[in-house]
């Protein structure tokens, strides 16, 4: 039996005043997918952040449920392990009333040699409305959009981008400091292998912040300067100028040859500790996308200090992912919603 049309199924849920606010995706949002922040405009990013703020408010800080995506099915297609992001997407989808299916590469047909495109097409044929994809290879979510008829959200593609992580970092800064315009944000650590760094870089600069990339030359290429961002290899020099520091994890798993002689030496040069904190602005905001290596990028006392927004980031992740899901597969003016079509019609 085909699934009931969205509107019909929606009636099974009580419509609240806040649901009416999310009845239709604004027409200014023209994208079908959320793949990267590089190709979004400042207006697109602001719309995402504003939508996330509205969801956060309407759900009492991401705690209660809405029915904005009732009747939709979201699949978490994770080719690379993840706990935090996968859980965050699943909760965000459920907060909007959507059903969530998890698909992990381990133990699937992928280990039997099936291509990722075939895997995704099979899931699509089962009638899902959005695919949240994480993959170790840059561009894989982009390739999926050429083969699938449903919305694709990039939940991290290798070292390329992690748009919802970038958005939640920016959301957290905006919530704390009001605006991004004129702020100086230091991204510190493994820039070379960090998708978070790339999404932050594009999002922050589009919204008017100044970005400084900081770390050893083996992890922070001079070439970034060609994009108009500042590159520094000396954290202590840039520290007093930063309003925000985003401390990025060293991705030991992605290195061919070690980019620095020892963890001890790295921590000595770049770890954010109490000593460095004293030299920073008193209103410095500290972010870390997690999982954090305590004692490498940041010492435990700083990670847990009042200036650290690490746990706010996690909550805000839900709000941002609700916004991403809804803008990607929410109902649009003049269009039948994906789930109101008979099953298999798109396959």
């Amino acid at each position: 039996m085909p699934p009931a049309p969205l509107l019909e199924r929606k009636r099974q849920h009580p419509m609240t005043a806040s649901d009416h606010a999310f009845a239709e995706v604004p027409q200014s949002w023209t994208h079908r997918h959320l793949l990267d922040l590089e190709r979004l405009s400042a207006d697109d990013i602001t719309l995402l952040l504003d939508t996330a703020a509205a969801f956060k408010q309407a759900t009492n800080g991401c705690r209660t449920k809405l029915s904005a995506l009732a009747g939709s099915t979201v699949v978490n297609l994770f080719f690379e392990s993840s706990t935090r992001t996968k859980t965050s997407f699943a909760l965000a989808a459920r907060r909007l009333g959507a059903d969530v299916v998890d698909f992990s590469a381990a133990g699937s047909s992928l280990s039997k040699g099936e291509s990722f495109i075939d895997t995704a097409k099979n899931l699509e044929a089962m009638g899902v409305d959005a695919v949240v994809v994480r993959h170790q290879t840059p561009g894989t979510p982009h390739l999926l959009t050429e083969h699938l008829g449903v919305g694709v959200i990039n939940a991290g593609d290798g070292p390329h981008e992690h748009p919802t992580q970038g958005l939640l970092d920016i959301f957290s800064i905006r919530e704390q400091l009001g605006s991004l315009e004129g702020l100086t944000v230091g991204l510190v650590g493994d820039i070379a292998h960090s998708r978070t760094a790339r999404s932050n870089l594009w999002g922050l600069t589009k919204l008017g912040a100044k970005v400084i990339l900081c770390g050893p030359p083996t992890l922070v290429s001079q070439r970034w300067q060609e994009l108009g961002v500042e590159v520094s290899h000396d954290l202590d020099t840039i520290l007093p100028r930063c309003h925000v520091l985003n401390l990025l994890r060293i991705q030991f798993e992605r290195q061919n040859t070690p980019p620095f002689p020892s963890v001890r030496e790295y921590a000595h040069l770049y770890a954010m500790d109490k000593r460095r904190l004293r030299r920073a602005r008193s209103d410095l905001v500290i972010l870390a996308p997690g999982p954090i290596n305590r004692g490498v990028e940041v010492t435990a006392d700083v990670a847990d200090c009042p200036q650290s927004l690490i746990l706010n980031q996690v909550t805000n992740g839900l709000a941002v992912r609700m916004a991403a899901l809804w803008l990607t597969c929410g109902p649009r003016a003049g269009e039948p919603t994906p789930s109101s079509q008979p099953a298999g019609a798109s396959a």
Partner: protein, 437 residues
Amino acid sequence: MPSLLIRGGRIVDPSQSLDATGDVLIRDGRVVAIGAAAVSESDAAGADEVIDAEGMIITPGLVDMHVHLREPGREEDETIETGAAAAIAGGFTSVACIPNTEPPIDTQGAVEFIHQKAARADACNVFVVACVSRDRAGKELAEIGQLVEAGAVAFTDDGSPVYDAELMRRAFEYCRMFDKPILAHEEVLELSHGGVMHEGLVSLALGLPGMPAAAEEVMIGRDIALAEVTGGRLHVMHLSTAGGVALVRRAKAQGIAVTAEATPHHFTLTDECLRQFDSNYKMSPPLRTAADVEAILDGLVDGTIDCIATDHAPHAIEKKMLELDRAPFGILGLETAVGLSITRLIVPGRLDWPRLVDAMSTLPSRILGIDRGTLAVGAVGDVTIIDPNLTWEVDASTFRSKSVNSPFHGWQLTGRAVATIVGGRVKFRLHEAAAAS
């Protein structure tokens, strides 16, 4: 054997400094008359077959000295038969096939196998390039003398560099005895390890592992030094970087026996293409920057880069429809090379016709030491007839190749081979092919 008369075209044959309107008469597989008024009316009347070439360019048959035919071992990608069919459809009368097959071409028997398969395919000439090292393993020399006896025209471990510098030195020394060139794939593997594209601003933004220009240039530098010290003949394959062009230019100025080739994709596309994450843009060496493309074009103009070769590298569609890091390196070349060369080199006025024909026929023949690349009287009757003004759209679904991994699908090109004549026999005519399909 019947005779064939090609009438009234612009004959461009740099081997005899000929660029004039005229006729070519081929009898018994050999050129018997060429030039303006070279063919008497009685000869003309007696020809078994006549091709009207008015408005066309007549060239010595084109030679692609860098083609992967995949057979034996990877017949799902290409076979000698399908590759040879693609060659004549692209205007090539001769190809040199690269030995990174499975097993690699490192024995007389393997060379013989290629020759037999090519004879059976009966399309273009297939010249065999054999391995430098036994089993292409880079440990010890293959039986180069035996391979020469079997007909190998050059040696390469392409797909990989000859990594051991001493083995490379020995290969240069040993090949001197037979006056055979070593075709070198130039890459320092530690520097390009895991890379899928050129290392630069684009790879930085995309988070894709890069293959730095230095990985190619360091190895070119090594091989130039070894060619100099041994007096051996180095041919640099698929030159792709500005620094590499400069190294070759300097070596030539010093009189070192070095030649070089460039591919149509390296003088046409840049690393910006990778923003589409399409594995059809993934090849080794990778697409470089716009500045590198300019340097390649300059190298072709001033002769630093002797010739154009395609590095035709077919891969079955299911292998290319993978994530960028899992998809293999390689791009088709045979059926788009003439169109791309004319569109990119002749139309904008970068090269004139004699230089292009030199780069696609005469010089590759000279480097390989094969009796092709000329329409002198007595030469083998290999001829390509090109319509220089024909505009056409590349359609990968019509390729004769077994694979479709071309990023040029859908491109509008100017110039195309309309007839390919091998040993005096017409092997391909575009209009017949179009009518048949």
